[in-house]
Structure formats: C-alpha cells, structure tokens
Symmetry: none
Subunit: 226 residues, 2 copies
DNA sequence: GCGTGCATTACCGTTAGCGGGCATCTCCAG
DNA sequence: CTGGAGATGCCCGCTAACGGTAATGCACGC
C-alpha cells in the first residue's frame, strides 16, 4: 500500500495537474471537489497527507483543516491563490503544516510533501511486534514475553530470534544467520549458530528437547514455526 | 527553559529583525554569523529550531543543513533571497523542513515555526505528567516526586529521566540519549550516559543496586519500566 | 553399522556496566 | 573579585555476564 494523498480542489485543471505531479512521485491520489466531499472521504479512507485549497464552494479550506485537526494529526498542506501574510498565518493557525501560494511549481509541491512525510515518519518509529502463540517479541523494548512473563535474552539471542521472526516459517541457513546477526565478513564456525540456538531454546521453549518455536531443518538450518 | 532557536545569518540588519520577531514570540534566540559558527554553536547547545540563510560566507546554508542532518532531526527552516523552484527543492532535499523566500513577513516566519514546533511536539507528547508507581514526573514544573517527597534532580538528570519517560518501556541507546539529552552533535564518550544514569538512580531508586524504574538492557541501552 | 550433522556441556578470554574518585566548570553569596 | 558548593565530564579498576571454542554425546539417514 503506497502513500495516499487526499486533494481538495474545485478547479478541474489544477486538480488534474496536481494529480499528475503527485502520481509522478508514485503516490496514490484521491480527489475531492468540495469541503464536504473531502471530510466525507477523509472519514472513510485513511490519508497520509491532505492537500487543501482555501477557496472552495461551501465549507472553506480553513474550516476543512480545522475539522480534520479535531480528530487527526495527518499532515496538511494548504494551497491557494491568496498569499497575504494574513492568509498564510491563518492557514497555519488553522492547523496546516505548510502553506503554498499559487501559482506553484509541481516540483516544489512534491518536495514540500516529501519533507513533511520525512518529518512525520521519522517521528513515529514503527513499533513493530511479533506474536507466535504464547511467544511475543517486542523489538523496541528489547523484550520477549512468554505468556505474561518476561524472558531475558542476551543481545545475540535476541537478534537471532528477531531475524528468524522477520520471516516466520522460512528456513535460515547458518551462513545467512551468521551474516545477518553477526554481521558481514564474520568468518566463524557455523557451529556457533547451534550454540546460540540452543541457548535461545533453553530460555523460550517449554521443552527445549522438543522445540515448539525454533525448529531444526536438518541439513538446511533453522526456522521459526509460523 | 524556553524554546531555543538558532539563527544563521550574516546580514546584521536581517539578523536583528529576525531576532526581535522571534523574541516577540517568547523564544530564546542564539545567533550565528557564519556556517562554521552555527555548526559550532549547534554542537555545544541544543536548539529546538534552526533557521538558516543560504547565502553565507564560507560554508553555505545547504551544507550547514546537511551537516546538521547527519546527526540530528531538529526542525530546520531555510530563509533566503533566492526563490527559484530549484533552490527550494534543493533546500528541502538537503533536509530542511520549510523554505521561506525573502522578503518575508516576520509574522509568517513565526507562524511557520509555530506550525513546525506543533508538529514536532505532537510527535513526542510533552504531556503534563508521567507516573510510574511511586515515581511521579512533572516536566512542566521541573519536578520529580517519590511518594510525597520531592526529589531534587539536576538539569541533566531531569532531562534524561524525561526522555526515558517519553516512551516508557522503550530502550534508548546511549547514542540516542546523548543526542536527545546533551544536544545534537555532541561527540562525547558514551560512558557519560552511564554516569548520569547512576546519579539518577541514587536519587530516585529505593535500592540503586537493584533498579526498579531505570533498567539496564545490556548491549542496547536503558529504559524506564513501563 | 557408519557417517554426518545436530545437541549439549564445560571452559575461558573478553566486555559491558557499575562504583569510586577526581578535575573542571558554573553559578551564586559574600 | 573571590571562595565555595553543586553540577558536570572523565578515568580507572572491579565484577558478573556474555560470546566463542572445543570436546563429547546423541540421532538420524544411508
């Protein structure tokens, strides 16, 4: 699923020009022709960025922006022919993140949206999380839970587990694991992996002799039960 | 401690005008006259926003921005007389969050900075207070309570604690903490973090040898018990 | 049965984190 | 200006935990 951009613009020519510019960047564009339509679409879809023209029939851009802000932190860019300082300030005060006076270069619009996306995405560190039955892996917290109990893993064990969990069910050879967990250019014995798999099992498996999560695939490597 | 803004501008009249406008908003302004001075100041202080003029003697604004971006996510606004689309795009690509062509209205500058701060702060909720068991953190009042007793923390200890509290349970590496607490671009020993964690513990932990709140995650960093 | 590959254990050099101590810096009171 | 207290940054030595190696035992497949 790509980046979704909702545009609100009543002038068809501009709307089309904007759409083409945004699609050039590889983003998906959803178009609204009025404030009402925009708010309706916004409720029903999720957008990564909203682009609002101020001069709209019906509800104006400022109001659309404020309305969106009441229940969302989505990045908002205002685009308009009015470029008095007063309008710019009003737009930003209404909750917009950026304000771009027409006429503008499509490349500038794209660049500003990219900057905004960069900022927003760096702020929300994708708190990933895996779950396999009773086994719960929380990479952010450097933590593994079995049921309700925290299990302490060392850094190496943890990275090994996270690596296996990144593609559940897939078999990882010792070479691949050495490369990914220990780093490129590590020239050690493949037995090293065995030892750490063993240590991992004693910690997370109810019965390490009959592994439930970390399974051996003879002759190939190890995998995490999907 | 208020919002710190670092400005980089060689023209004295503009520098003064900008400073007055920013101070009107209640922000603290630190001024640099060249790219070199800016990078130097940036290393030693923390800034909440950086304002960069592109045309500078020595290192130009683009380079200053890129240099800052190499180890910081601080909001950056570029301000310049050049307003070709090409320059705007280049500025944003260099890592700036906004680009404002001169001449600009001080009110617009302030509004744009406010919008940026709003965006950045909504990402890391400086919410009024945190509570972890008996530990109560009141960032607004610069105050920490254990049970009913106020505990005195130094500025550094306090910021360290608040940073950890901003994402309870999440592991913070020494690098991240150095960046966030000591300021971007601080090039010191990672051991420094240990020292302050220890001092923090002696103050807030009932038994500093067996931490209850500030936990060590060996090989990764520290976290605050969720 | 035999060989190959995996499991298990023991061992030991290394390292990360902690605590004590010290030098410098800052900020205030005198 | 000066002295002192607190704050800050840095270094060194200690220890427990960790990572890697090797040796031995076990299981599976031919």
């Amino acid at each position: 699923m790509g980046t979704q951009i909702l545009t609100v613009e009543d002038d068809e020519r501009i709307r089309t020009a904007v759409r083409l510019a945004l699609e050039d960047e590889g983003w998906d564009v959803v178009e609204a022709r009025s404030g009402e339509e925009a708010l309706d679409l916004f409720k029903r879809h999720t957008a990564d960025v909203v682009l609002i023209d101020i001069m709209l029939p019906g509800i104006d851009g400022f109001e659309v922006c404020r309305s969106i802000r009441r229940n969302s932190d989505v990045p908002v860019v205002m685009v308009t022919a009015r470029d008095d300082t007063h309008d710019v300030v009003a737009g930003l005060e209404a909750g917009a993140d950026d304000y771009l006076p027409k006429p503008f270069a499509p490349k500038e619009l794209s660049a500003r949206i990219r900057a905004l996306l960069r900022r927003v995405r760096s702020a929300s560190p994708t708190s990933s999380q895996f779950e396999f039955g009773d086994l719960q892996i929380l990479p952010d917290q450097g933590m593994v839970m079995i049921g309700d109990d925290e299990v302490h893993l060392t850094k190496t064990e943890f990275r090994l587990l996270v690596e296996l969990a990144s593609s559940p069910g897939r078999v990882f050879s010792r070479e691949v694991l050495l490369e990914r967990v220990w780093g490129y250019g590590y020239f050690g014995d493949g037995r090293l992996v065995d030892v750490h798999i063993r240590r991992l099992r004693t910690k997370i498996e109810p019965d390490p002799a009959k592994p439930r999560y970390v399974l051996t695939v003879r002759g190939l490597g190890y995998k995490l039960q999907a």
